[in-house]
Amino acid sequence: MDIKGRVMEIQHFSVNDGDGIRSTIFLAGCPLRCQWCANPEGFTPDNKIAWYKKTCVACGKCAEVCPMGIGIDLDLEREKCTACGKCADVCPTGSRKRMVTEMTADAVMQELEPNMSVFRQSGGGVTFSGGDPMQQAYFVRELSSRLYDLGIGLAVETEGYFDFDEVEDILEKMDLIFVDIKVLGPKRHRQFTGRDNDLILTNIKKMRRFTKKRIVVRIPVIEGVNADDFNIRRTAEFVKRHLPNASMELLPYHRLGEAKYEALGMDTPSEEFKTPPKERIEELKKLVIGAGVQTISFK
């Protein structure tokens, strides 16, 4: 039996998730609940049906096929929805959409194949993202070992919230590891993500053993959460101390995920979370550099 995983999306021609031109595989399921998350469909591994009201023409085809008898307005009856996806199959405008699909490793490989020449030409490869891809470690292990055997470059974007011993072999296969430190202070971390960050920080310390790998510690910089000098400097110092060869990337927060919240019938992230201005990001970068850590940007 071919191993199956739950995939939100395979985004081809990704240019910000590592070197060269890449395909990023977004895998569903995440141990954190970051309040600003741009991919809320990836909180759990289950499928969800999105309903994009703006493009919906209310033709009623979805209602005709729904085995649960849900009408056009999905939001009114979401609790009944089993995410079977029949509505998505018939929707002529793509306004009803599956957000998570079960795929076999073979199917993923098949979808990646046409991109391989581009990976090779550009020095790119495949990036596992999420959710947190380590939630589906068995699937990442299978795909990364197949891709490794083909000589394709590999990267992972993880929250760092995993059992290190269980995923160490996967991390070993990666050329590049992105790991987030959302907030360094444990209380604020719990407040905004629903989890303590001890495990994350411990795992980051353990990554020191990967002396030959490139590791990038990322901060999603959000005004109102973690964009203060103190947090950024402390985080950089932490990185300097425990992963002296790692670099850091400061990613300014964006609100592009909002439409998904609406389509899934969820409350959108708080208006308190704000995108820091460019100049502010530059100032923070200087703090990082001042702490002795290189910054990097895959823009």
Partner: protein, 790 residues
């Protein structure tokens, strides 16, 4: 599925038994020729083939599923005295003792052929005519000298054809070919010379086709007879099936995979009996066999395992007959190699990826039976499936030297440059070792081997060979009088150009004789255009007539030599030209310091522009020189830098060269670096080789590399190799092949050959059993530099 017991038994026989010479074909051919004197040559040839098929003993060997033998021995070589017999007469007493490609032959056999066969051919063979006609001014240079070597084209048949299974044989059947010729004949009255020629041609094809039908009929009868007395019920069934196959094919187009494969072999064996050919290529096996496989598979008539077994039986058939050749030819084409090139992968005529199930089964067959034949080639195009590339690099990692890896686009471009239509160019297959070819083509793909090392010594030694002091080159001022590097370069190019000229003379002399003396009615039957126009293959009847290929040997040695002179004499001024000349004349004895300096000068194969630019200058000049001549059909001659084992005999006649090479040691092959001098990375070696403008060498280019086994022992290592190959091809290069067997294993095989009888190694453009190579050849392979890092 593992290899079946039947295949394993045949394989053991193939590995352990020395080939035996059979004179049966020669005897029947000769008897027939005695009766047909005065008739047109093509009719005589066809009748000789008919009489041979009608009378030679039928042999169905133990457990065979595909039948059709070339003689009474399972591993068998035949004699073709109409081409040459003198060398056989001279050499056959030591056939079993010669170092390269020995054959068994009994004293009774020798007596028989001396008494009953050779006397008839005295004065009548192609060889004797050639020797009588070669102009005096070329004789000393082109006859068995190792300078300009073309003996495989006047002691042997041409071969070098890819029968057209797609559009002729499988489409019409040999019965259909007869019908087609009869229709053509019914419209001819013979009132012009051309018409009379055509009538003779069509009659010769009809007789040849009926000969093959007669051959098959006799196998059908024999299988039936054997079935009637067979006690093992399984074998009895098999024999009944064999008989049924032989009654349907080759007369009719095949309907099943099994029939198609039997027909393929019948067609091949007919070619073998006709001319003991070099490079009678199966061509794009996966393309024309797949439809039969798919049809049978869909209908539940065949399993994958059964098809695999049949393919492996065919591989053994391709390997069991041997190309009977002179000791000289065996030096150039070492390893009992028949050069039947079978090509898989690439693109369809429409330009889509062409891989299918048969593609993979062909790779698997070579891995399982480890036969040196067919010569398995793959074509890699930029969008080739990952699965295919993985299968290819995995097979390379097994160390068989197979497959030879070719750049589909470079092959296409080579054919476009030779004047092919795009669809035909896309459909190219390999001929021999690394010649891009196409089934509707008449071409001499290995016409001449030309020794660049000789041009170096003629330039530096007043036109004389160092080893014999014979003057075989152009008049040349003494080296000491050369004032500049440009003088040296010019002297070399003049001498090279002169050798090209003699190559052309030898080839045209041979071509003229082939047209007149050795028509090819049987193989013409496999060519659409020959059938359409009524013109024999030997007279330019094919759709494409590509000019003969002149292969340059020693590109790296000559570039390294000029670089050494340029640097040591004219830049660093560590010695003068006289000293250099004297050092070479002394084979470096007493000049060890100078030799050390010479060896330290940059060498081709390390991506160093200093010497690579000289190699490119030489290769471009060589293209211009060769291409400016046209052959008997008005086609341009084509240059090549392919391999074969020619670099060893070519080196044997060359004195020391300024690159530090000692006298009589091997030169360099194809576009490969000089043995062991590619000291950088394989990437650097490839980058040097890719600088040659591959697409104009329509006769093919060859790069040989050795990789350390550890580099390709993992999947990831194999994938890296795949990427290395892709990168080489991206630079425009045509072919590369790899040896991955360690020196430890090769040394062990030299010590205990019996334990390594099935060890295949890459020679140059082809693989063969290591233990079947002469000691010199084995040492030459061991001396190649094995890259340990990419």
């Amino acid at each position: 599925m593992a290899i079946t017991e039947r295949v394993e038994k045949a394989r053991q026989n193939y590995v352990n038994v020395k080939p035996h010479i059979s004179y049966e074909r020669a005897e029947l051919w000769t008897e027939s020729f005695m009766k047909t004197e005065g008739e047109p040559m093509c009719i005589r040839t066809a009748k000789a083939f008919y009489d041979t098929c009608d009378k030679m003993d039928v042999h169905i060997f133990d457990g065979e599923l595909i039948v059709g033998a070339t003689g009474e021995f399972r591993k068998c070589g035949i004699l073709t005295p109409e081409f040459s017999w003198k060398w056989v007469d001279k050499e056959m007493d030591t056939f079993d003792k010669r170092p390269q490609d020995p054959y068994d032959m009994t004293d009774e056999q020798r007596d028989f052929v001396r008494k009953n066969i050779f006397p008839y051919w005295k004065g009548k063979s192609l060889e004797e005519h050639f020797l009588a006609q070669i102009p005096e001014s070329s004789r000393d240079i082109v006859i068995d000298t190792g300078i300009v070597d073309s003996d495989s084209k006047w002691r042997q048949a041409v071969g070098e054809v890819t029968p057209d299974y797609q559009d002729v044989i499988f489409k019409l059947g040999w019965g259909g070919i007869v019908k087609k010729c009869e229709e053509k004949l019914s419209k001819l009255e013979g009132v012009t010379e051309e018409d009379l020629d055509r009538i003779d041609f069509y009659n010769s094809v009809i007789i040849s086709a009926k000969a093959l039908l007669r051959y098959a009929e006799r196998y059908a009868d024999e299988a039936e007879r054997m079935a009637s007395v067979e006690t093992d019920p399984t074998r009895k069934e098999e024999l009944i099936q064999i008989s049924a196959n032989c009654r349907r094919v080759p007369e009719n187009p095949p309907e099943t995979f099994y029939e198609a494969i039997q027909m393929l072999w019948f067609t091949q064996v007919g070619g073998v009996l006709n001319e003991n050919p070099l490079s009678l290529n199966p061509g794009r096996f996966d393309q024309y066999m797949y439809p039969y496989y798919k049809k049978d598979k869909d209908a539940g008539m065949i399993t994958e395992d059964k098809a695999q077994e049949l393919i492996e039986c065919l591989w053994l058939k391709y390997s069991e007959w041997v190309w009977t050749i002179s000791a000289n030819t065996a030096d150039y084409f070492a390893g009992y190699n028949q050069f039947q090139n079978l090509t898989v992968g690439g693109r369809t005529r429409e330009g889509l990826d062409a891989t299918n199930d048969i593609t993979y089964m062909a790779l698997k067959a070579t891995e399982e039976v480890k036969t040196h034949q067919p010569g398995l080639s793959v074509k890699i195009h930029p969008d080739c499936p990952e699965k295919f590339m993985s299968a290819v690099t995995e097979l390379i990692s097994k160390g068989t030297g197979f497959p030879a890896v070719h750049n589909d686009q470079a092959g296409y471009q080579m054919l476009i440059n030779a004047g092919y239509e795009p669809e035909d160019a896309r459909d190219w297959n390999n001929c021999g070792c690394v010649v891009p070819h196409f089934r509707k083509t008449g071409e001499w793909t290995a016409a001449v081997n030309l020794n660049f090392g000789s041009a170096i010594e003629f330039a530096l030694n007043e036109g004389k060979q160092f080893l014999t002091d014979k003057k075989l080159g152009l008049d040349q001022q003494p080296a000491a009088e050369m004032k500049t590097y440009e003088d040296v370069e010019k002297a070399f190019l003049d001498q090279l150009g002169n050798l090209v000229k003699h190559s052309i003379i030898a080839t045209i002399t041979a071509q003229r004789l082939h047209e007149e003396m050795v028509p090819r009615p049987y193989l013409s039957a496999t060519m659409e255009q020959c059938l359409e126009d009524g013109v024999d293959l030997s007279k330019g009847g094919a759709k494409y007539n590509v000019g003969p290929v002149i292969t340059g040997i020693g590109l790296a040695v000559s570039a390294n030599s000029l670089a050494a002179i340029k640097k040591l004499v004219f830049e660093d001024k560590v010695c003068d030209m006289k000293t250099m000349h004297d050092a070479l004349a002394a084979d470096w004895e007493g000049y060890e310091d100078l030799r050390a300096l010479a060896r330290a000068v940059p060498k081709y194969g390390n991506d160093d522009a200093y010497v690579d630019n000289i190699a490119i200058m030489i290769s471009n000049y060589y293209y211009e020189e060769v291409h400016k001549y046209t052959d008997v059909n008005g086609s341009h001659f084509n240059p090549a830098f392919m391999g074969i084992s020619n670099y060893i005999p070519a080196g044997r006649v060359c004195g020391a060269t300024p690159d530090g090479r000692k006298a009589t040691t091997p030169l360099s092959e194809g576009v490969s670096p000089f043995t062991g001098s590619d000291e950088s990375t394989p990437i650097a070696a490839m980058r040097s080789a890719a600088k040659v403008n591959h697409d104009v060498y329509s006769g093919g280019t060859l790069l040989n590399m050795r990789l350390d086994q550890d580099l390709v022992s993992t999947k990831r290592g194999q994938a890296n190799l795949g990427n290395l190959i892709r990168s080489y091809f991206q630079l425009g290069a045509f072919h590369v092949q790899f040896n991955t067997v360690s020196n430890e294993v090769l040394h062990a095989a030299q010590k205990k050959p019996d334990n390594y009888k099935d060890l295949l190694v890459r020679v140059a453009g082809y693989s063969t059993q290591f233990v079947n190579l002469s000691r010199t050849m084995q040492d030459a392979i061991i001396a190649r530099n094995a890259h340990k890092n990419y």
